[in-house]
Symmetry: C2
Subunit: 262 residues, 2 copies
DNA sequence: TTACAGAGGGTACTGCGTACCATAGGCTCG
DNA sequence: CGAGCCTATGGTACGCAGTACCCTCTGTAA
């Protein structure tokens, strides 16, 4: 008798005391499914195999998971709801930078993965070699991206009525959301490839820093003014001192003169 | 008799003259499938319906399309190959900016869509309301993104051996690829929603400009160098350009002279 | 002519996902 | 206390995508 069956028997059988809470069917199924996926592979495991190990009827599986793939990602739905709620509560007000907010929201996903390192690592390996799971994961990631983009769209086209501005805001929102998701996933994969040993948050933070530096609060204002595109070599460090109110041409002039000296 | 059947009969029947080239089975199938998808919807159309209209055997469908979804995107495989080839031929050399190259590569997709505006618009509407097609499209888009990211990765970690640099290059590559794809798709969707009337290239170019301004040639190098943000006075912003190896006294001298002028 | 290769056709099977119906345990309300 | 009821679960049957295997036809080369 497998571990899953034993636990289910113990909980539902006559010996189940009042303190032994019956493990929810959903978790029993997800656990049985994941065991089998690791043992024989995803495609080699049928839904009948899963329900047989879980000791329940086949019909019950599809009551809790819309598809076989969903059993591999049982907690994304919850995380997606958390993200939406997070942005609704912690993402309001002009004091909070929109890019910071979506980066923080993305960290909710990191936290979910980091909560079960060994499970996440095994699932990562499984997902990498099963095309069907890769495709499914894409659709999940896309939903996170859409959530972030929706929030950003609201922030970037809030007080402005012009439709052109709204379209620009939507573009900006989608690009930043895609960049945040890509950076987050890069950091997360780095952590997953390390076997879940390192600090997941640190890896993700580092990856997100690239996006924040480019799109975040400080960087943005510096770039929202028309930039003089000066070819600076990678070995250069730019430092300039100027009063905030100085005319832009003077700033450019000074940079150019500094470059000219070298 | 439908148009598709008539054309196939005319080509394969005894009346087919030597000049009437037999239309390739793949196109006949794709056309029949798309007709039916528009008439009854994607899910309401079975593969048997498609092969019945095309007048061929069911087996032949799966010889030309791995899945029912593939019949909706018959030319992406070709476009993907074109993109890979484009990057291999036009993306080499230090003179070509990597970001410019991937933007140009993305325009190959625009061109493919713009080649058949009415087909693209109909497919867009179909894809929007069929979840299965949306998921499939995601996997297609992902392959473009991977192609672009792979190219950028090569460019950003080419001559450098350090693995840290390689990891940073990979991160940068993935973020930029995601941003380019997001911007491109935003521009493309704008065009598709206009019914294919406007200029697709113009819409995509405009969207890509946001990415190029941020990640493109000039802008990039200025930001990749570590920025020194020194608080001189509360109203000052310091920006300076100096060679990395420059003696410190010269840096200080330049800052002082800059401050002295105001 | 035979040998062969490639394009198409046909049949049967697996397995996911759904629709419909049946059953059992706990609940309230009369 | 029992009748209704609601929710959770089990069971059966079906549609259909995708695959495996084998057959037929046609053109071509030896």
């Amino acid at each position: 008798m497998t571990e899953v069956q034993r636990r289910r028997k113990a909980a539902t059988g006559p010996a189940a005391g009042p303190t032994a809470a019956k493990p929810p069917m959903r978790e029993v199924l997800a656990e049985a499914a994941f065991e089998l996926f690791l043992e024989r592979g995803f495609e080699q495991t049928t839904v009948d195999d899963i329900v047989a190990r879980a000791g329940v009827g086949r019909r019950s599986f599809f009551r809790y998971f819309p598809s076989k793939e969903d059993a591999v990602f049982p907690d994304h739905e919850r995380c997606l709801a958390d993200m939406t709620e997070f942005l609704e509560t912690h993402g309001v007000g002009d004091a909070v930078d929109p890019v910071d907010a979506v980066c923080d929201a993305a960290r909710l996903v990191t936290r979910m993965y980091a909560a079960n390192p060994e499970f996440s690592v095994q699932r990562y390996r499984l997902t990498r070699e099963v095309p069907g799971l890769r495709t499914y994961e894409l659709s999940v990631v896309r939903r996170y991206e859409r959530t972030l983009a929706g929030y950003l769209r609201g922030r970037y086209s809030a007080a402005q009525a012009s439709e052109g501005v709204v379209a620009e805001g939507a573009l900006r929102a989608e690009v930043i959301a895609a960049a945040v998701v890509a950076a987050h996933n890069n950091g997360l994969r780095t952590w997953l490839r390390s076997g879940g040993q390192d600090d997941a948050d640190a890896a993700v933070d580092h990856a997100l820093a690239l996006v924040r530096n480019v799109w975040g609060s400080g960087a943005e204002r510096a770039r929202s003014a028309p930039r003089a595109e000066v070819a600076v070599s990678e070995d250069d460090v730019i430092v300039m001192v100027a009063p905030k109110g100085a005319p832009l041409w003077r700033v450019v002039q000074r940079i150019e003169s500094a470059l000219g000296e070298d």
